[in-house]
Amino acid sequence: MDILKFALRKLAGGVPLILGVTFISFLLMIYFGPDLTWDKLGKNPTALEIQEVRHELGYDQPFLQRYGTYLKELVTFDFGNSQVVDKKVSTILKETMPVSLHLIIPGFILGNVIAIALALFAAYHRGSWIDKLIMTGSVIGMSISFLIVIIFFQLLFCSSYGLDMFPVRGWEVYDSEDNIIWYQYLRYVTVPTLATVFVALGYNTRFYRAVLVEEMTKDHVRTAKAFGHTPTSLLFKGVLKNAMVPIITRIMFSIPLVVVSGSLLIESYFGIPGVGKVTFDAIIAGDQNILKAIVGLTAVLFVVVLLLTDILYRVFDPRVELK
């Protein structure tokens, strides 16, 4: 019961955030954004035709009313049709969301798990050559642009100039009934995943090591060491569990941005029909209905993530109260 009350209060607290995000993006993208009137008209339109189109697009309404319509669309999850493809925005999102999730999840999990493992290893051997090697590696990883990694990995794994083991682009992993074909899935997901993991490792390892080192220098760890606990129990019970709060924060807050921004580059480069590619195409074509939907939904996702993060804190640290 308490959790439910807490959740409702948290969600209500997220309303100003959603209003802010939607307001700023509405102002920039729609109100001051591209005028779509002329795209919809034929040659030599009459004044009446212009007026009709403007009315259809809602341009003749006052600002607040247009913003209100957008909020209503967000609440009812009905953003109308895409302005470029003749499909409902909600249908497009429903089709592309699973693709993006299938694409991102392996890289996201591996990028964090491997980074935590490396960070534990480096933190445990703090100051030794192993630590230095891992940290140098992570600075190098941080310094290579994501774009370069993508191009290089594609060249290395997918082209005849390299190993030529995987398809260059595309995403033909579903059979006619939308079930995943695992063999195909592995073929298409491997190279994007390798690229994501490579880039994520640099930043993540550094962050996690800093968190773990701080935890490791605390008194309870020294005491546990003095009592003769094995390194494994020391690392997992004494250090990792106590460092869970910052780790969870980082993982959770990267979710909303990974879903949109992270997949945007990968999907547009590998030609994978996910949310990122839809977003990119919508940016290029100025498809406002899709952009409105994506910005609004990301904001909602952020609020949900904030809520889940707070609940997860409670799981790992009983001292945290759900207030």
């Binding site: 100003p16 955030l17 802010g20 995000v21 700023i24 993006s25 102002l27 920039l28 993208m29 001051f32 954004g33 591209p34 600075v139 190098i140 941080m142 310094s143 290579i144 642009s145 994501f146 774009l147 370069i148 191009i151 290089f152 060249l155 082209s159 100039y161 909303p256 941005l257 949109v260 921004s261 945007l264 580059l265 547009s268 480069y269 977003t279 990119f280 940016i283 290029i284 100025g286 952009l291 994506i294 910005v295 990301t298 904001a299 952020f302």
Partner: protein
Amino acid sequence: MTEITHNTTMMEKGDSLWDKAWYKFKHDNMGKTGAFIVFIYLIVALGVWFGFWGGTWSDTSDQLWQGPSMQNWFGTNVIGQDVFTRAIYSTKVAFEVGFIVALLSTALGAVLGAISGYFSGSWIDSVILWLMGVLDSIPFYLFVAAVAFALKDNPFAMHIAMISTFWTITSRVVRGEVIKLKGQEFVEAAHAIGVSQNKIIFKHIMPNTSHILLVQSTIAFVAAIKSEVILSFLGLGVKDGVSWGLMISESTQDVLAGHFNNFASSSAFLFILVIAFNMFSDSMQDALDPKKVG
């Protein structure tokens, strides 16, 4: 004002934070190497700026797809432009983006962070925190696109978008530091002798956050250069002229045809600058961290 800054940091051993930082930095080989490389890049960029070299980046020739040679150190591209000259010229573009974004986003973050930290708990603080939360929740590429829409393809849309999102990181750090500082005696003393609030915030407290600002601006610089590359590739960044991002974007066609000059040189230029800057930035973070004194 400088007396106050010094007095607070000098209390322990008679050395200021900056003296100690300089001492540590002098003994940090990684940091010095990084700073040296960044300095070379800076000279290259300034040379382009003053017109000593790189001016011929847009000249075409009939030497298409040439490999490295004495005339064209890194070969030529699809329309016979010298890849080396283009990479050199792009250094200037990268430094322009980096400097503008680092300077303005750090300044904005410093001012807003100091205000929200000083008035923490009040409505001003809530508004600033809300604004930071909002800006952090808009996907970056979408925000850049939105700013570009609103500014009707102004060439500075990319810079403005980066400045208006990067300041939040600095601002959060400065806010935390200011909350710590405002309880200290020198602030109390300034209050007691009737120094105005503006002066306390900007002349007494803010100089004490300068070590944070220096580190944050180097981080913003690197982030700006890296973002420029991706944004230019996506068609949202540099539109006229040339930049490493545009070169990489061109090279996606080249590499499929087996020509790697363009890709290799722009990537190498970018990578070396970013890693040198990261090394420099890390070493400054270590040197300027008051917790690591000694």
